[in-house]
Symmetry: C2
Subunit: 338 residues, 2 copies
């Protein structure tokens, strides 16, 4: 049997309202009564009906984290952090998979899901500034990753241009001159790819190296297979690069695979760098040099800002936070050991 406030009230011989006050302390209750009520709660094993509470309060205690792919370890690792942070704040985090689909992102942005969640953390891929501005829903929204700037929402990301700089500087520092980039995109979507390409170009220029469009490979998506295909295409071109910078670790790992299959040595023939620092890169052969964003910071910050907004803290304007990152050298650029 499922116990409600009424059962407790009956058992303890008090009114509904008093039990409610004992449970959530909205108004003070006398010590004797409180004990009687508490005892009844313990005996009957009451736990509040969240649906009813939601109906009354207008909040569900649910927030969502929407990512383009659950199977990308970067997002899985981020999700684990966010889930535990949300739990600590009394919220339940719901994972949404947009599958990098524009309609899915739009639906989430102001769709019906909003009726059940108190707020949304979104990693946009296919939508841009206009779509976000056109949003009608009024529940709080926090953006993570890149793609959308200058909108009235909190935004947490790393500085992609700077991250690219760091990667390219590292490759230049170990003597590479023909540096390719894998993971550019066609359209204006996925801005982070643009930013990473931009950082790549700037850093090349800063190092006095020429920008060769042929060395920038486009991909449809950003998985291992995309990286592998792009690397294969680059190799087929004839003028082999001596280094590759991948849009993310998955793309870089795909590139590693293509290089191995083509019989090229990493890092001797071609050095490889990714972004994300997923665990897989610490176990690949060779291990993968990467730009490590502070996932813990990103996950915690995103949840905390969202919850702050939900709970009404009129935090000053929208806030864009750039979290730190770090270059981690591993075998794919010549570091020794694991």
């Amino acid at each position: 049997m499922v116990v409600s406030l009424k059962d407790i009230a009956q058992r303890a011989g008090v009114s509904l309202a008093t039990v409610s006050n004992v449970v959530n302390g909205y108004r003070p209750v006398g010590e004797r009564t409180r004990q009687r009520v508490q005892q009844a709660i313990d005996e009957l094993g009451y736990s509040p009906n969240l649906g009813a509470r939601h109906l009354r309060r207008g909040r569900t205690g649910l927030i969502a984290l929407a990512v383009p792919e659950l199977t990308n370890p970067y997002f899985a690792e981020l999700a684990e952090i966010a889930i535990s942070e949300a739990a600590g704040l009394g919220y339940t985090l719901l994972m949404e998979n947009t599958a990098a689909d524009r309609d899915a992102e739009l639906a989430l942005l102001d769709g019906s899901r909003q009726r059940v969640i108190d707020g949304l953390i979104l990693s946009p891929v296919r939508i841009g500034r206009e779509e976000v501005l056109a949003r009608t829903a009024d529940s709080p929204l926090v953006l993570i990753g890149e793609g959308v700037y200058d909108v009235p929402h909190d935004h947490i990301a790393i500085d992609n241009v700077a991250a690219s700089h760091a990667a390219i500087r590292h490759l230049v520092s170990i003597g590479r001159r023909r540096i390719a980039f894998i993971g550019a995109t066609q359209g204006g979507d996925r801005q982070s790819a643009h930013l990473r390409v931009q950082g790549y170009r700037e850093a090349l220029a800063a190092a006095g190296l020429p920008y060769r469009p042929r060395l920038v490979a486009r991909t449809d998506a950003f998985g291992r297979l995309d990286g592998k295909r792009a690397m294969r295409d680059l190799l087929a071109l004839g003028d082999r690069p001596d280094a590759v910078f991948g849009y993310n670790d998955l793309v870089a790992i795909g590139a590693l695979r293509a290089l191995a299959e083509a019989g090229h040595r990493v890092p001797e023939d071609v050095a490889v760098v990714g972004i994300d620092d997923i665990e897989e890169g610490r176990f690949s052969a060779p291990t993968l040099t990467t730009i490590a964003p502070d996932k813990r910071e990103i996950g915690r910050l995103a949840v905390r800002r969202l919850v702050a907004r939900i709970e009404g803290a009129e935090v000053a304007g929208s806030l864009t936070v750039q979290t730190p990152f770090q270059l981690i050298r591993r075998e794919s650029t010549g570091a020794r050991g694991g």
Copy 2:
């Protein structure tokens, strides 16, 4: 502004009940009225308040999938499938992370979370038959993976013993004689490890090979690092195995890494087989031979059975389904190409 049934009713000049009937078709509505109501809905952009609906119907439309680790690609891949299957049936799937923690599993089993979800799909790791039997909550429960048998709940898994057989037979067929197992456990928890070890022993016996306890390595968890450490320990033992069967792909990938660091060639010196067929194993160097469970089938079946129970289909008794699996040969046991 947030529109409710009342607003629609007013606009269309009908009663609340009629609008409700248009929305969810509980009772038929005349064609003319239906059109007027539908128009009002479209114009005002109504979407039902799920909290209220939950309160009234006693169902939330939320189901949960609880896994021991989100960052295990096997579960991430399974989750993607389950999420889309659930969406197709009109349910939202909530991911829960038990972090392989006993208390977390227990809390989920009959804890307060039950008040917000209609049913639970659980991949148990630390709890067994007794705990499941002692459960008080009465919402439907579907178990996936191994660990708990003979309980009155639906259960979907592969035949672990048979899977182990297939793996060992394969290793024997390519001439291996000293076959190690990585991923045994200490206690009675994580039954699947027991079953996989059991299959390993049986298959050794069937092949006329001796069972050497020293070649069975225990691990605390089942990640890459655990596999790497265990492999390192096995190598330190002196009598090097000529093949390794890992509890799962992650463990096997960790083993690959340890072998590479120790300078052993795979598969020439040591062949390696895992279980799960995660994408990572198709890109590792060497690519990983694995036992591939039918993740699509498992995910879809789990969701469908759970929903069937929720919706009251008194399906005959509890059902244990064993889904098919398949051996996929790759480089780590001598197959050529990707």
